[in-house]
Symmetry: C2
Subunit: 308 residues, 2 copies
């Protein structure tokens, strides 16, 4: 059994490759919910949705998030009324958010709802939110604390981050199945996601980091940083702003306590020794997932590292 | 200044006629919010929306509620996920509900939001919800209490009502402006709406009924019952089920304490004396609003009754 810790787009693409080379029924994805947001009364779980949409081949291939064949009639009307429209919600996508919110109001857990959403799309892979409790990633920018989506989407992560916290995480519990899955896994894969705000919240849920540390010899991580830069999103800048080195070495420093191997891109071959100096084995392989074949190849390389 | 007490479709059509024969800026509609419902986390105000959509000529002319040129992509997706879809929400209509819900979450009152919604559609007429506090019309059917929309939409009002109550009304306050408008009005018009579940909740808000009683000589009501039947909806059956006579006379008994005149359809000319026996003047005129000209003609007849 494989367990994968996942954020949004990068993780989803990797998982899409993984299910091509490993039986989906044998994979559990534990997904970040720190960037969940309530807007218009609707509970939105961006990373969970990106994983589910991508794995059901229904994701918008251009953006990597949202749905294919999307329309924007609700947003157009909301705009006409003067509503809040910086977080774009497509009509089809809204079906997911209405479904989730109604079931939460009826008392269902986020895990149960996530299982239903994955099930209704015929997913084999199990998708678990990291927690059924509310954990909210918040960042301080310009001296003021704002929600993650406010930073990421509204301000287009164009502003320096002074600090990050996961509000509510102290009292959050891992969702049912999370610790058991990590404990029983043949291997744990840390997907190529932002280490600070995608993997960070999962690690911060009490019990998760300890469970991973106990499985260090079975844990392999894929670096989301390639030649000092993130392919997408603010991971590199954020690492710099928070005093980390924005490189595979910086990633190795974060992950070494609980992962024994770091998979890095061929562009970082010259940093392999530095990664190993941080106490991780380093596997060098192409990690840019330009399409499903490249994602499958990366997944194969990760499984090979796992088998060592 | 005119004040109109309004439910949904019938009231909206009447008001659409009224603004053709009287300056809209000079009219305040006080609208029932007892059948507001929260679904999918969204606050839906069906009567307020029907009034605003109708007065901005954007209502679906076939149904009398919802919007023109509507699409149903969110509902289709929700259905695919196995969600709750008995309350049909069109894509454009959802823009309104997202707007309202977000502003409520930000602390705005229902009246402020209603004013914004009416304003963004260029309405001259002032639309006030009866209260900014939550009042919930609930009915007992088959021995169980259910919400109004559950009865009206989900069960298509096909089941007998044993009783009706307005949960929360004891502690509700009239929205700012409601009592002042009634007190200052040259005339108050009770629109052709269900007396029990459209006008009833407005009357039940503490202070409103007394304010109307004080203005009895200036209050004119239009009967929603024509020849013993409601044109639309369950008003006739509901009156019977609750022990009232489903006729203009039954309506007169309900309204006589606070209205001096009842406008009835020509089909009820033979009941005019019975209405007057209940202590109301009776005006007989065509009341079926097949289109805007008929609605305007009815409004003219009501204004004439008001002037007497």
């Amino acid at each position: 059994m494989l367990v994968a810790l996942a954020g949004g787009v990068g993780a989803a693409r990797f998982l899409r490759g993984l299910v091509d080379v490993h039986p989906p029924d044998d994979i559990t994805a534990i997904v970040n919910t720190g960037d969940d947001v309530t807007l218009h009364g609707l509970h939105i779980s961006p990373d969970v949705d990106t994983v589910i949409y991508t794995l059901s081949d229904d994701v918008n291939p251009e953006t990597g998030w949202g749905l294919r064949d999307e329309s924007w009639r609700v947003m157009a009307e909301l705009e006409r009324r003067g509503g809040l429209t910086w977080f774009r919600l497509g009509d089809r996508d809204l079906g997911t958010h209405l479904y989730r919110t109604q079931r939460l109001a009826e008392g269902a857990t986020l895990s149960a709802i996530t299982a239903s959403l994955a099930g209704s799309r015929g997913l084999g892979l199990r998708v678990l939110p990291m927690s059924d409790d509310r954990v909210e990633t918040r960042v301080v920018v310009d001296g003021a604390e704002i929600g993650f989506q406010e930073y990421f989407v509204h301000r287009q992560h164009s502003v320096a981050v002074d600090s990050v916290r996961f509000a509510g995480v102290e009292s959050a519990r891992p969702a049912a199945g999370v610790l058991d899955a990590i404990g029983a896994a043949d291997a744990v894969i840390v997907c190529p996601s932002n280490p600070v705000v995608s993997i960070g919240p999962i690690l911060a849920v009490p019990g998760v980091r300890d469970a991973l540390v106990a499985r260090r010899e079975h844990t392999v991580a894929v670096s989301p940083i390639i030649a000092g830069a993130a392919l997408k999103g603010p991971a590199d800048r954020m690492m710099t702003e928070l005093g980390m080195e924005p490189s595979v070495v910086g990633v190795a420093r974060l992950y070494a306590p609980f992962a024994c191997t770091l998979v890095v891109d061929i562009a970082d071959a010259d940093r392999a020794a530095d990664v190993e100096a941080e106490g991780m084995e380093c596997v060098v392989t192409p990690t840019i997932m330009t399409g499903p074949p490249e994602a499958a190849a990366l997944a194969r390389a990760v499984l090979k590292a796992v088998a060592r």
